[in-house]
Amino acid sequence: FLALSTGIASAAANCVKGDRKAPYTIGWANIYSVPTWMKQTEGTISAEAEELKKAGLVEKLMITDAQGNAQTQIQHIQSMIDANVDAIVVIAGSSNALDRVISDACDKGIAVVNFDSLVNTDKVTAKINTDSGEWGRVAATWLSDKLGGKGKIIVMNGPAGISVSDDRRKGAQPVLDANPGLEILTETNTEYNVAPAQEAMTSLLFANPEIDGVLSLGGSLSAGAVMAFDRQGRDQVPITGENARQFLELWKEKDLKAWATMQPNWLGALSVYTAVQALEGRNVPAFIKVPLPVIDDTSVKGYLDRADKFPADGYIYSDYDKALFDNLIAQ
């Protein structure tokens, strides 16, 4: 097996204390297991845990589902501490609500790996994520380039009050400021889902006879927007988006001028891997920044070729393997 045994306690990662021995019990504190993105992510986590079980490193994966309630998630993490798990992998239901319970876990020597929705506290073993600010920035840059820095655009945001959606929007702002030719007609906030996005965009289409581009910041918002344009018989405009299968298929079907990035589902697998590595004594960085994979006209076909392996309402994520993980941890 891989040369994990760098096993010198002096290099130990944050939170981890030397007294935990393989095989480990890992707690996966999910905020909400029902949405497809989460299910896919959970899939990568379970697969990774299976893999590590075979290697004798993991004994058990405990999964909780807070049903979207940050308060319940706190309760779950508290229970994981009480049950003395060796590692906790978590997507935060609120960017700072979990701070206290997570630092409690850290104090107990539990390896805490936090990915996707991050907590504020630094008392974790590692945080793993793409850069939401960058997400917004590159999306806005692409759209601005496509429109030549001039035109009327609509900004579609995720739900209000969520830090991810806020961060992406903030990341886009400097680009918009730098291109005064871009005029924002309206912004929307909806769940990252097709139906509400389509609904909102349809109303906006009637109110705005002239739209040059759509800066859509994630989830299935873009698919909803494209369908709204299509159903109202309007010409499609340049649009940004994420790797939702439906969007990528529409991209090909409608021959869109589009661009997409992704929040890879394998962040979950990477987190489990990282947690185990840290428990094994490897020094892991406090923040593992995962570069944003870009999907453009040239690469979209590669993704669509693999589409069958993914749920229709799911996300087509890029491939991953151990080497990629090791690379990311070693950065």
Binding site: S33, V34, P35, T36, K39, Q40, G43, D65, Q67, N157, A160, G161, I184, L185, T186, E187, T188, N189, E191, N193, V194, A195, P196, Q198, E199, A200, T202, S203, L204, L205, F206, A207, N208, P209, S220, G224, M227, R231, Q232, Q246, D308, P311, A312, D313, G314
Partner: protein
């Protein structure tokens, strides 16, 4: 003067008047709002709420409440593509199967309320939780995109220029209105809603009517699920969530008493339109999310102050 007064005495008519007023004012002030296509689109959106609220209206009339409509819509939209048999070119078998499932879910709700005496709000809330569990199993399955031709036709076609969804809503409306006002069972529902004990002693079976009612509610939620699937061409987890509160809001805005025994679906219809209109108005306004939320709440509240004044206990 007399007309004004009789409008104020008649909640459905009042709500309808409000809708017309809002539409006229918005059309005059907002570009594109009064566009025929836009108004038609609003109706199409309202049709989903309206159909989901059809079951909700019946349940509320009988003194209950159904918190599982959102979950039933989601389950229908997600299961339908999975269970549509490939050998059926029309897709109707799949729809029928999905509706049977939705109806059975409703029947379960009714059984819990009638036999276990669980308050409907708890029974349907627990049912929604069950269905979430079901979704954890089925969601993310491989086929959630509809290839079912009947569903696509329902969601996308426009016979005579009218979206099929609106036509479906019209059919549902006529059925529900006939059921409430022209069928014995409607009168029984209302009697149970106003005084279950007296209704029972008058020979109205609580058990039978409760079972029937929640089955109907499940069926209508299922129909709404099929329609919403057709309109979005894809089901996903959470697709039904917005319809839980909106279905209740449409019922109450239409003048139906939340305590049961008084009201009509004729009020729910404009109530549903009023809701989507309000949402559309808020969408085109460029404001921060906080202010949009305040405006939405404020609009509902002020409409309520006009329409709900007569709704006394």
């Amino acid at each position: 003067m007399n007309i004004v007064r009789s409008i104020f005495r008649n909640p459905p008519l009042l709500t309808l008047t409000l809708v017309v007023a809002v539409w006229v004012i918005a059309s005059l002030t907002l570009r594109g709002f009064g566009n025929y296509g836009h108004l038609r689109y609003l109706l199409e959106l309202a049709s989903v709420i309206g159909i989901a609220a059809a079951g909700q209206t019946l349940v509320v009339l009988m003194g209950g409440i159904d918190l599982s409509v959102g979950a039933i819509i989601t389950v229908t939209a997600i299961l339908l593509p999975l269970i549509s048999p490939a050998w059926d070119p029309t897709g109707l078998v799949g729809i029928a199967l999905a509706l049977v499932i939705a109806t059975c879910i409703g029947l379960f709700n009714g059984a819990g309320a009638a036999f276990l005496r669980v308050p409907p709000i708890i029974m349907t809330l627990a049912m929604a939780t069950f269905l979430q569990g079901l979704l954890v199993i089925v969601a993310g399955g491989s086929a959630v995109t509809v290839s079912n031709p009947a569903v696509i036709l329902l969601g996308q076609s426009r016979p005579f220029g009218i979206p099929a969804g609106i036509l479906l809503w019209a059919v549902v409306s006529i059925f529900v209105l006939v059921l409430i006002h022209r069928m014995p069972i409607g009168a029984r529902f209302l009697a149970i809603g106003a005084n279950p004990l007296a209704a029972r002693l008058s020979g109205v079976s609580l058990t039978r009517n409760t079972l029937l009612l929640y089955s109907l509610s499940g069926l209508f939620a299922g129909i709404a699920g099929v329609l919403v699937l057709g309109m979005n061409r894809q089901g996903y987890v959470g697709i039904g969530d917005p319809y839980l509160l909106t279905s209740i809001a449409a019922v109450v805005l239409g003048g139906t008493s939340i305590l049961g025994g008084r009201g009509t679906y004729a009020g729910t219809i404009p109530g549903a339109i009023l809701l989507v209109t309000t949402t559309a108005l808020i969408t085109v306004v460029n404001a921060s999310p906080g202010w949009r939320s305040i405006m939405f709440g404020g609009l509902i509240l002020s409409l309520l102050l006009i329409s709900g004044r007569e709704t006394r206990r």
